[in-house]
């Protein structure tokens, strides 16, 4: 693990204030990861982020970018190497989308052809057609599009490091979710080192490779992976900040293909009653009826067979509607189970073909396994340290 940004005893005292806003913060940010600074309002998380590109100059302490001490270098030069996105986005309203995105490349003296190609590439990356949007002005875009352009502008000169201050804070929940997913997809390709500030622990858990939970004066309460923080909060402050439902939040971090599916008895839609009875065997549970393409249709048990004679298997029993995909989160899977008539989630591939089932016991088992794994990992780490 290469360290990309290192903060060393960073302190910021604002004139006229008794307490420092950031008090002797030391922190290492690994290359290619999203590190989230999260904490209650006034904890100094935004100040901390602005110390990194020196929009706020530290009172004392040092900042290293890779191994270079950047505490005293020319701040404008430093900032051109670091992408910067803020909640209000701050697009330049009098400039076109093209000119907005071209800002830093122009400052760095790229030639026109390079800049033009780069702007088109970025617009394509964020899903906006270059021909349509290049010469539009910010006021002609929707909130979500402006946010996308803000991110594209920060990436324009391909900086290794990006600072993002509540970048998805001012957007409606549905668009926010979409932009977050889109950003995670882009990040999985570009692998930037990102420092991301938010006050929303759920966003932190979703976006972060690592989370630093900050309390007053930017003191680190805990700095670890989301999994470890959820399973093993360092103290009451962290536990309280995560809030109730840490277990449920944990389910957001795992996907169906991370855990072991179970099998259940299945029959073809055309099977006769005796076949179904054989498949049911001694259990009081249901068999899953599949159609010719092996797609799930109905859940059927012995009682259903008794009650209605003569009708086909696809017309009796309970609908098989709790369907999830291998990449669904366990949280979504659990939700499907809870709202379905028969509380077992069926896993299908993208073609709709049956792959296996997940029931409440499977999830329970998986969560217990994850916790044990986290614990032993923590124990290992403590062992190494001590």
């Amino acid at each position: 693990m290469t360290i990309k940004i290192r903060l060393e005893n960073l302190t910021k005292r604002f004139p006229g204030e008794r307490e420092p806003a950031v008090d002797s913060l030391s922190m290492e940010i690994p290359e290619g990861e999203i590190v989230i600074l999260v904490g209650p309002s006034g904890c100094g998380k935004t100040t901390t982020m602005k110390l990194i590109n020196r929009l706020i100059e530290p009172t004392s302490g040092r900042i290293f970018l890779e191994d270079e001490d950047v505490t005293k270098v020319d701040p404008d030069g430093l900032r051109r190497r670091i992408g910067y996105v803020i909640q209000q986005i701050g697009l330049f309203p009098h400039m076109t989308i093209y000119e907005n995105i071209a800002t830093v490349p122009k400052l760095l003296g790229w030639n026109r052809a390079q800049i033009s190609a780069r702007v088109d590439e970025l617009l394509t990356t964020i899903g906006m057609d270059p021909a349509t949007y290049r010469s539009r002005y910010p006021k002609e875009l929707s909130g979500g599009q402006r946010q996308r352009v803000g991110v594209a502008r920060a990436m324009s000169a391909d900086p290794d490091v990006m600072l993002m201050d509540e970048p998805f804070g001012a957007i409606d929940p549905i668009t926010r979710d979409r932009l977050q997913n889109e950003f995670l997809r882009i990040q999985s390709e570009i692998k930037k080192t990102i420092v991301f500030v938010t006050h929303d622990i759920d966003e932190a858990i979703k976006m972060g490779d690592r989370i630093a939970i900050l309390r007053d004066h930017s003191h680190i309460a805990q700095y670890d992976t989301p999994e470890a923080i959820l399973v093993d909060p360092a103290d009451d402050f962290v536990a309280e900040f995560i809030g109730r439902g840490a277990g449920l939040k944990r389910l957001n971090l795992s996907r169906v293909n991370d855990i072991e599916m179970s099998e259940c008895a299945t029959v073809q839609a055309g099977a006769d009653r005796d076949e179904v009875r054989r498949a049911l065997g001694e259990t009081d549970r249901c068999v899953l009826v599949l159609d010719e393409q092996r797609r799930p249709r109905r859940w059927v048990n012995a009682d259903h067979l008794e009650l209605v004679g003569g009708r086909s298997l696809t017309e009796i029993g309970l609908p098989a509607d709790a369907v999830v995909r291998p990449y669904s989160t366990l949280s979504d899977t659990l939700n499907e189970m809870l709202v379905a008539d028969y509380a077992t989630a069926i896993v299908v591939g993208d073609d709709g073909v049956y792959q296996g089932v997940i029931d409440i016991d499977t999830i329970n088992e998986a969560v217990r396994g994850m916790r044990a794994a986290e614990r032993s990992r923590l124990a290992d780490r403590l062992g190494e340290g001590g």
């Binding site: 590109n53 929009l55 701040p75 404008d76 030069g77 430093l78 900032r79 051109r80 910067y84 803020i86 209000q88 986005i89 701050g90 697009l91 330049f92 309203p93 009098h94 400039m95 076109t96 800002t103 830093v104 400052l107 002005y137 910010p138 006021k139 803000g150 502008r153 920060a154 600072l163």
Partner: protein, 216 residues
Amino acid sequence: MSEFISYLESHWDDLLELGIAHALVVAVSVAIATVIGVALGIATYRTERPRELVLAITGFFLTIPSLALFGLLISPLGLGWPPVAVALVMYALLPIVRNTVVGLREVDPAIVESAQGMGMGRARRLLRIELPLAWPVIMTGMRVSTVIVVGIAAIGAYVNGPGLGEDIFRGLRRIGNPETALNLVLGGLLGIVVLAILFDLVYVLLSRLTTSRGIR
């Protein structure tokens, strides 16, 4: 009425000449006032005390009666163009300084912060971001100044200044011959009204040409 029209017909070339001189002294004065006013605005918009001071002084200029000011300027500057231009610049300052300060202070701080965060230095931020965004407000100040100064320039004829004031003062001196006096004064007045309208049209055109489509 018909006599005034025949007066205009026989004197239009004089009126045109005076009108052009009038427009010129107004345009030059507002241009100089814009350079000085915008510079003063830039220098003081972030600091309260100097800002208040500059606004108080330029505000005080506007309260000096124009005849008195022209009179005062004769001894250091003589007659003709110089005292008129200097006085007009002084009268044109307040709206321009005030609007420059207001325009710059109204720029969304998030926009300035993101410019700074991308590595734009102080001067570049001012030139590329803050001034273009404040420009429509500054133009409004120039427009107000022009309206003020077009009228005051007429009084400049009192110190032999250029422009339509010359006809008005000649008229006033011929009170004994009411018909000629009336024609001269009305002619000057008409010229000033036409000039004011023309200046306004020029500003409409100028703001179209110099304001980005993104902030119109």
